[in-house]
Amino acid sequence: MDITELLEIAEKERSHQKPIRVHCCTSTGCRAANSLSVKKNLEGAVKDVGLSDRVQVVGVGCMGFCGNGPLVEIDPQEKLYERVTPNDAASIIEAINGGIATAPEGDLKHPFFARQLRIVRENSGKIDPESIDEYIAVGGYQPLYKVIHDMTPAEVVDEITRSGLRGRGGAGYPTGLKWATVAKMPPGQKYIVCNGDEGDPGAFMDRSVLESDPHKVLEGMAIAGYAVGASEGYIYVRAEYPLAIERLETAIKQAKKLGILGSQIFYSAFDFKINIRIGAGAFVCGEETALISSIEGGRGNPRPRPPYPAQEGLWGCPTLINNVETFANIAAIVREGGDWYASIGTEKSKGTKVFALTGKIRNNGLIEVPMGITLREIVAEMGGGIPDGEVKAVQTGGPSGGCIPASLLDTPVDYESLSNLGSMMGSGGMVVMDKETSMVEVARFYMEFCRGETCGKCIPCRAGTVQMYHTLTKILKGEANQTDLERLQALCDMVKHTSLCGLGQSAPNPVISTLRYFPEEYTTLIKPDVLNGKVAVSH
């Protein structure tokens, strides 16, 4: 395969596409709302009306507005229908020619859509994720061709460094620096690992990217392989995402068939193969050293760092580990240039971030916004606020993050600002809570999660999370006193600073942040101190 063949495929696919495309979402969220029957009926309706020569129905990936699914979009008429039932299908097809559709029409000009800037999700909801030709038709795999034939590995690393991209798994480590570290290691066996173990409850960006645009991730991994000198990659996906696994397998098969993955890619000396590894339900496997251990077929126990995986990772070889969303940014950076990417976002946090906006909010779904947008814009404008009530707090970053009170909603969303508030960017889950939610209850919920998910290798995390959970339960039952509260704070401090890996180090965050911003919720539950059973000593 050379560039002319690639462009030929793209041209052929474009010429085959009908002028009007009816996009029907077939991702997990809309599938659960029966979108597959909708798609079948749409196809039937097109045949019945005899529009097969002008209209095609395409099963696409996630359009983002999952809370109002199943979604159907008419391209290029820019019409969006929400909550479509199979019975609406015929009227939607008639509406193309000026009829009236029975399904509620969505507003593509609503801030939820209008405020977004799509880089990672540029193809999501526009192309069929199960067709490599459609991906190539929108310019896919050209960046990979460009790096292999027109750039040296060092130039690729420089481009990524210049873009200012930071790890989208949540911690925000500069991607270019990580790549450079692996690239500098002596030549030999190196690995690329894509971390798709999205265990944070309330986050589903990675699932959506893998389901909607799997080739984008494969391309990002292959570019990384070329840049750091690796010939083999692994994608680690949670077993809870069967559709993502299925689509990845299809995508890998298709790319191999065209010679885009495998040996001598694009007639060059560069070989790159990708394997899928399926997780088995352990939150800790999102931690890079635990993930490596899991790929090797063992228990997902983290190990101390250094040595970092970049020096000694999978089977002792230098390994580059990045999150799904990080890899999904790579192709666009190569295509448009690092400077273009660096022009988006804030001074220290470049580019865009995908968030999963959920909880008690009007518009549930996925959004991709430039860094530096404020939480208020996300929650009030894009999310449409809470149907009947006020926002009390926004939880970001899952079990490792914290709760941000409504008074601080004007904070810009970037790595540093969120850390300063005692939360973190995390993988991108944003759960909105209203007055009905008890913050102590939320803290206990996360502690219950960490208690169950700790791997048990280090004592602070294994025993500390259990004790914190018990103390929070005691507080909620109204049986705790001031001493318990102090002990809880001491435990938070101890677990945070003495745990072995990121899971334990960040486990107390939900407790610390709720104690910091909602102390009155704790104090009202505390019993007045009865001298703690101590007798005052009289002199």
Binding site: A32, G202, F204, R277, V431
Partner: protein, 179 residues
């Protein structure tokens, strides 16, 4: 001539010795999986996934068989099987109902859905009804937060569930109707 006969017999003996004595076809499926992975020890998790798919749960016999085939100590196989939540060492019910307890589902009341199901069936999460009809399980997060609260009935995700809806669903399986 004779020596070939002996060789064939030896080969057949070796094969018989390496096969599972029960002659259960499901072990053959496992064999194919392990062979495809070239009996590499790092394929353990994949093999256990396949085993659970074929057998429904990981019985001791299966763990022993896998350990022997991959030349791993049983402690290592057992350690991995017990570490990951998805592997079950107990038989599961004919139907499965998985309630998502992720943050978004939790905030929207999945806890109430779970307790209603527990009350209706008389079992706790992680247990199977006495008649082996249904297993009630929980998930950390299904990633279907946009349609919270989510419940998975026999592998099909259902969104925006209320306690009544979930109970209706399991009643269709004929569970707890007498309750």
């Amino acid at each position: 001539m004779e020596s070939t006969g002996i060789k064939t017999k030896q080969k057949a003996d070796r094969q018989a010795a390496s096969e599972h004595p029960s002659g259960d076809k499901r072990f053959k499926v496992l064999d194919i999986t392990m062979k495809r992975a070239q009996y590499r020890q790092d394929a353990l998790i994949e093999v256990l996934h396949k085993a659970q798919e074929s057998f429904g749960f990981l019985e001791e016999d299966v763990l022993l068989y896998v350990a022997r085939k991959l030349k791993l100590p049983l402690s290592r196989v057992f350690g991995v099987a017990t570490f990951y939540h998805l592997f079950s060492l107990k038989p599961s019910g004919a139907h499965s109902c998985v309630v998502c307890l992720g943050t978004a589902c939790y905030v929207k009341g999945s806890g109430a859905v779970l307790s209603a199901l527990e009350n209706h069936t008389g079992i706790h999460q992680g247990e199977t009804t006495a008649d082996g009809q249904m297993s009630l399980m929980t998930a950390r997060c299904l990633g279907a937060c946009g349609i919270a609260p989510a419940v998975v009935f026999d592998g099909t995700v259902a969104g925006k569930q209320t306690a009544e809806e979930a109970i209706d669903k399991i009643k269709q399986w004929g569970i707890g109707n007498e309750a």
